[in-house]
C-alpha cells in the first residue's frame, strides 16, 4: 500500500523533474539574455533536480535515499551560488563595457536600476 503510494509519488516527482528539466532547457535555448537564461536554467538546477532526487523515495532503498537527501542538500546550497556567480560575471562585464565603451549599449528589453 505504502509502497504503491511511494511508487506513484516517485513517478510523479520524476515526471515533474523531467518536465522542469525540459522546460529549462527549452528556456535556455530560447531566451535571449544571460539573466533570462539563468532564470530558465534555475528551473533545472533547483527544483528540477531536487524533484528527481526526491523521487528516490520510491526506490525504498535506504542507501539510495540517504544519498539523495545528501545530494538535495548540496544541490540546494550550490546551485544558487553558481547562478549567482554567473550573474555577477555578466553584471561586471556589463559594467565594464559601460565604462570602457564610448557608446552605451543597453541590453534589449532590460531595465536597470543602477
Amino acid at each position: 500500500m505504502i509502497s504503491t503510494l511511494l511508487d506513484v509519488l516517485g513517478a510523479a516527482l520524476l515526471l515533474l523533474g523531467l518536465v522542469l528539466h525540459t522546460i529549462s532547457l527549452y528556456g535556455v535555448l530560447r531566451l535571449p539574455t544571460t539573466y533570462q537564461q539563468l532564470h530558465a536554467q534555475g528551473l533545472a538546477t533547483g527544483p528540477g533536480v531536487i524533484a528527481i532526487l526526491a523521487a528516490s523515495i520510491a526506490t525504498e532503498n535506504a542507501g539510495i535515499i540517504t544519498f539523495a537527501v545528501l545530494a538535495i542538500v548540496f544541490v540546494a546550497i550550490t546551485s544558487p551560488v553558481s547562478s549567482h556567480a554567473i550573474a555577477r560575471a555578466e553584471h561586471r562585464r556589463y559594467r565594464r563595457r559601460q565604462r570602457h565603451a564610448d557608446r552605451l549599449e543597453q541590453p534589449r528589453g532590460e531595465v536597470s536600476e543602477e
Partner: protein, 150 residues
Amino acid sequence: MVRHPDVIVRGVARLLLTPSIAVAAALLVKGYAEVGDGFSAGMIISLTISLQYVAMGTSATERTLPLLRFSPALVLGGLLLALATAFFPLAWGEPPLSHKPGPGESVPTVGTLELFTPLAFDVAILLLVVGVLTTILHQFANTEPEEEVR
C-alpha cells in the same frame, strides 16, 4: 578595480569545507566495500580547497588556512607512507604490497572502517592527492617576483 568580495561564494565555500571533508572521509572509509577510494576522497578535498581559493583569492586563503603551507610535506609524507605500506613486507621477506592482515586473516573493524594496511595506503593516497593538487594550485596562483621583473 576595487576588489569587492563575493559574500555568497565566500560563505558557501566556508560552509562546504567541513561537510566535504566528511563526505571524503566516508568515501575513504567505505572504499573497500563500495564506491570511492583514497583518490576520489583526496580529489573532493582538493576541490574544496580550490573552492576556498576561488572564493577568497590566493593570499586570503593561504592566510586563513595556514595548514595549506604543509602541502609539500603532505605530498612527500603521503608518498613515503604509501611506499612504506607497499614495501614494509620486505622486512619479513614478502613481496611488496602484501597487505596485512593477509588473506584468510581476520580484519578488525570499527563499523565500516576496516583497520588494515590498504587503509593506510588509501590514506596515503588521500594525503598525497590533496597535497599535490594544492601545491599545483599554489604554484599557478603565485607568480615568482623575480620572474615578473624579467
